[in-house]
């Protein structure tokens, strides 16, 4: 059998093994970092923190476990960096309490240390948020307490604690929407798992008697965990589409994740483990069997949970039975993603509303909220093994409060925006200003009421703003807004550049009536102009216009005309600038000319030196130049 106690020096060596393993994974952890502030330094902070602790241990070594724990704790506290570092320093304070006055640490103290650490950390954090390092630590501690009653073998015990930590880590995206949205597991939690991995490595290396087969089963399970729960594939860099969505829910062959204990009724000799394993593997995988004499712990992913229970019943009474449907969990995860990615608006909203900073008002995850998907597994599973005196009942801890995120990944965005435009450049400009759907349409190809309606309905938003950007489309848009199954407001913009001005006035945080007013006013302030070719001869405003000549239109009025494109644009802009203007915007379209655009730019710089001129390639047909002047 394995090692049952650690001296102060051995315990310190174990801590160092953990620190070493953590330092190897710093970059990976940094890449996961999105909460509380997505600044990519959780790994660095945890590493610096634990290194400070280890440095202190090296400086003041002690063979008394209690003293060593004090030394480490002091080093961690001094060196704590970042939120995760601070939390880490609090978690390890648990050892000080559990090992006080002791020369050696055994499983019982280790388990107590984890639980004390969790208690201290939860108290220390102003507003604890679930789905973080805190949750991972809590669930691991709970498992530790449970396992401490079943074994005093440190390596065996640590293995289970680590497995629970990994499982909980894999579930963090279900608890913290920002993680689900970005498709990663919690960075701080990952850091803790790395530490535990290092601990186990040390305990196993020092434990020649460790059961090799169990170790292998564990490794297999760890691999499985990588393959069929979010932790492995969630490890994409932030900002990228999560990989979960690429895996079909149906590809989870053995959907029921089962865990239970068999209390053997008549233990005559060792549990027939090999035989039982084969039976389970006929229709399941990820089998883990831990024979602890009277009690056997079983974990399996199965297609038919009833069959598994019947098989197990042959050996004794079953307790602490947990069955979870992993397909359901998976649907919960990708459901959130689809809502976020199918519609640009929802994704954008979610980014804006990501919780920033502990204490910034991230508040309570609610199990009853259908939008939150499945209840966090860590919590559900935990209720079954809660001892009556558990200081952190899953649902009713006063003061701790289960966190309430700012948003759920599949919650509706407050706003969606539809704009009608023409030209690839203009569409891109609109999208860069925050428009979710750009409908193609203009003078000669107006989108239908139905087109606009469909665009409105496609957005998972509480309120949709519609920018028709053409006088001929305003009515159809208003019709669509009336028919829509959700509130929609048409801002009566008559040109593309009015539409862009309206988007500039739009502010995410304002209520819809305020935004509607601001946007309409901004559009009104724009003096807009367009240059095109006359389709027939006419005489208007004292201008004799022949078919095919260039004409410059300000608002609805033709104010310049001629054979020369440059002169027509210049004539138009002079009229537009008559009442002054700070910002001139030009969108070039089909039929524009680089040389003329350059001359125009030089002329504006000379004639209106105080104005800011911006020229962009709009790509619209029929109108070589669209112009706007704003005060």
């Amino acid at each position: 059998m394995g090692r049952r106690s650690l001296s102060g020096a051995e315990w310190a060596a174990m801590i160092m093994a953990g620190a070493h393993n953590l330092s190897r994974h710093v970059d990976r952890i940094n890449a996961l970092n999105v909460f509380p502030v997505p600044d990519g330094d959780t790994g660095t902070n945890m590493n610096m923190t634990i290194r400070a602790g280890v440095a202190e241990l090296e400086r003041r070594p002690s063979d008394e476990a209690g003293k060593a724990a004090e030394v480490l704790s002091r080093g961690l506290l001094m060196g704590a960096r970042g939120n995760s570092g601070v939390i880490l320093s609090q978690l390890f304070r648990g050892f000080v309490k559990a090992a006080a006055g002791l020369r050696e640490i055994r499983v019982a103290e280790f388990a107590a240390a984890l639980q004390h650490g969790v208690d201290i950390a939860y108290k220390a954090v102003v507003k604890p948020v679930e789905g973080t390092i805190l949750t991972v630590a809590r669930e691991a501690a709970r498992e530790g307490a449970l396992m401490a009653r079943r074994t005093d073998d440190l390596a065996l015990w640590m293995r289970q604690v680590l497995r629970k930590a990994e499982e909980t880590l894999a579930r963090t995206p279900e608890m913290l929407p920002i993680l689900r949205q970005v498709g990663v597991v919690d960075a701080g939690g990952q850091g803790l798992v790395c530490l535990y991995e290092g601990f186990l490595e040390y305990l196993q290396a020092e434990d020649p008697a460790a059961d090799a087969r169990l170790a292998e089963a564990f490794a297999t399970a760890a691999r499985q965990a990588q393959a069929d729960v979010p932790s492995g594939r969630a490890e994409t860099a932030r900002g990228h589409a999560p990989v979960q969505a690429q895996i079909a829910t149906e590809s989870i062959v053995f959907p029921y994740d089962m865990e239970f204990f068999i209390h053997r009724t008549s233990p005559s000799g060792p549990f027939p483990e090999a035989e039982f394993r084969r039976a389970l593997e006929r229709d399941g995988d990820s089998v883990i069997i831990i024979d602890d004499g009277d009690t056997v712990k079983v974990h399996v992913h199965s297609r038919k949970p009833g069959d598994v229970l019947n098989l197990a019943l042959a050996y004794g009474e079953l307790t602490d039975i947990h069955i979870l449907n992993m397909r359901q969990q998976h649907r919960g995860i990708i459901g959130g993603q689809e809502a976020g990615s199918a519609v640009g608006g929802a994704t954008r909203e979610a980014e804006i509303r990501q919780p920033v900073g502990v204490g910034s008002g991230a508040g309570g995850w609610s199990a009853g909220d259908p939008a939150a998907g499945d209840p966090p597994l860590g919590m559900e599973a935990a209720t079954g093994i809660l001892s009556p005196d558990d200081p952190w009942p899953a649902s009713a801890a006063p003061g701790r409060g289960v966190p309430q995120p700012h948003f759920h990944a599949h919650e509706m965005a407050p706003y969606g925006i539809v704009a009608v435009s023409v030209g690839e450049g203009n569409a891109e400009l609109f999208r860069s200003l925050g428009v979710d759907v750009v409908l193609t349409g203009g003078q000669t190809m107006n989108p239908s009421t139905e087109d606009v309606l469909q665009a409105i309905e496609s957005l998972a938003a509480e309120h949709v703003m519609v920018l028709p950007n053409n006088p001929n489309i305003i009515l159809a848009a208003e019709q669509a807004a009336k028919l829509a199954g959700k509130p929609a407001t048409v801002i009566p913009t008559r040109s593309i550049l009015q539409g862009m001005a309206a988007m500039l006035a739009f502010l995410e945080d304002e209520p819809s009536d305020v935004n509607a007013r601001r946007m309409a006013e901004a559009a009104e302030r724009v003096v807009d102009g367009q240059v095109t070719k006359a389709v027939r001869a006419t005489r208007i405003n004292g201008l004799d216009i022949r078919e095919g000549q260039y004409i410059g239109i300000m608002g609805k009025e033709i104010v310049s005309a001629g054979d020369g494109l440059f002169d027509t644009v210049r004539g138009l802009l002079e009229r537009m600038m008559e009442n002054g203007g700070d910002v001139v915007t030009v969108l070039t379209g089909e039929g524009s000319d680089e040389e003329i655009t350059r001359r125009l730019s030089d002329w504006v710089a000379e004639r209106y030196p105080d104005a800011e001129l911006e020229i962009r390639d709009g790509g619209q047909p029929l109108y070589p130049y669209l112009l706007a002047v704003e005060q």
Binding site: G79, V126, S432, A505
Partner: protein, 284 residues
Amino acid sequence: MAQVAVVTDSTADIPAAERERLGIEMVPLKVHFGEETYLDNIDLTPEQFYQKLKAFSGLPTTSQPSPADFFEVYKRLADAGRPIVSIHLSSAMSGTIQSAQLAKSMLPEADITVVDGRSASFGTGMLVTAAAEMAAQGASAAEIEERVMQLRKNTRLYFLVDTLEYLQRGGRIGKASALIGSLLNIKPILTIDDEGMVSPVEKVRGAKKAVARVAERIAADFPGSPVDLTLAITPGFTETAQELEERLKTAVNIGRQRVVEIGPVIGTHAGPGTVGVFALPMQG
């Protein structure tokens, strides 16, 4: 009763001379250029910082003070029998206040009031200097806390950044993230909202217009009455900062004006060329 001690952190960007004059205790955050670590506004002046920033490939990172850093200062003040009011950088942007609170919990006997300034740079600085002035006049910790809460509501701050990239890369972009990637030359006018997060109040085209709008906004926020105005700039007094100063002079009834420099930690997250205006009604 001993005089209340006022503690803040380095991100309040209060000039050293002002801190000394008012007896303000300052706990520094840290700036890391790769493996090198500097104490904010202590090891590194704003000038040195922006020089290093130019030369450094990649971005520096920052970290909050450890609980022990706060513990040391609190302990010294508490041992001298002084009540403490500790005012800090917005908790929505930094864990600094978390460290302060932990240090407080380690000194259960001491009289420590930790206040979330829900602001940054001289937005916190204004609150801290006002607190220190009150402390000098013998105000109690409770009186100071109440006044700081009230002041926080009456102050206005706006800032302009050269690029949103620093805010985004440092993860402090808050509600301005929608403005990233615009293809038009948009200058958002930013503020720090009631939740202590960066938030856009208006989007305008071009820096000139942005500067003019900031001055107009301050004038509208404090109609008629004299304003206590602070301009926070990065070293070198950029053209934008100069223009803003000019515009403010003509648009606003200025009761008092000072200029402070944006320090390394705030500079890491806002970027070079940032300019901020902090205003509150003139006192007394």
